[in-house]
Symmetry: C2
Amino acid sequence: MKNRRRDPSTPTPLNLGEFLCFAVYSANHAFNRVYQPLLRDLGLTYPQFIALVLLWAQDNQTVGELGQKLFLQSNTLTPMLKRLETLGYVRRTRDSADERQVRISLTEDGQKLQLLASDIVRRVRHATGLQNNQVEQLLDEISALRKALESHIAR
Amino acid sequence: MKNRRRDPSTPTPLNLGEFLCFAVYSANHAFNRVYQPLLRDLGLTYPQFIALVLLWAQDNQTVGELGQKLFLQSNTLTPMLKRLETLGYVRRTRDSADERQVRISLTEDGQKLQLLASDIVRRVRHATGLQNNQVEQLLDEISALRKALESHIAR
DNA sequence: AGCGATTTAATCGCACACGATATACATGTC
DNA sequence: GACATGTATATCGTGTGCGATTAAATCGCT
């Protein structure tokens, strides 16, 4: 039960190791670096891979739909999707019913990538060193954290 | 105990909500967005703030020392520290004993910022909606995750 | 039908982040 | 002391991210 006396003229020293935000920040970087060598052969970056995961689950989504799920806006997505188009993994076509919307659909090559994706995901999960139930628990906790932060942002 | 039959020609569908990496990725973004309005008045970005946290704990560190703690290299840090210098919060001076090293020291203005920092950190902690012991537990879990990922990268 | 408000993407400028490389300095070996 | 080796920082190019703005299409209201 220590109650150390401190010089009141200097603020409480902040220890970066105690920052939850920094733990999250550096864990995110670590994930990035684990994915990188696995994705290099496919010419993909980690965010691009995440976008493809969404498209494998549901093809032909609009830019806005993808952005809602990824928490990204068109200013980030549009250039990224254009790169995926250049790579030959997706097509970008205006929706004929609503010309404001751009629909992203997988090419045949883009669909084929999914065959490799499961293996990549498996490897990354292995790299976490966690059991399935631990992954689930941590995932729930971090998701709850994100939601709490977002509800705070909304105010 | 469902054991759905699947078409063996199509891969297992991947659900982004089950990706621990994505939970971490989006939680990191959420932190960023919570910090942003709090730091705007100081002209600081979130990574810049984190760098200052390190300098408040120990002034006059080298670029390399900061990079080791932030998991960043000079190609990221140098421009960022130059911006902090332009803002008038730090000075960049070559170490006279070893001219290869650049030492980063806080200006008077940079030191003063610490008075506001504790309040910002307190607000962000409040935004997480977590109790102190919950923060500690989650921090330990995420740090362990980062370490596991990094030890995997090292191989 | 007409027209302002809303929605959807795209564009621009800036700030990370990193791989690859360059440059200057320091160290060790002969 | 010279030269190879190693180290610390800086530079360059590319790819996210985001705030602010723009442009085009649609909606809603009268």
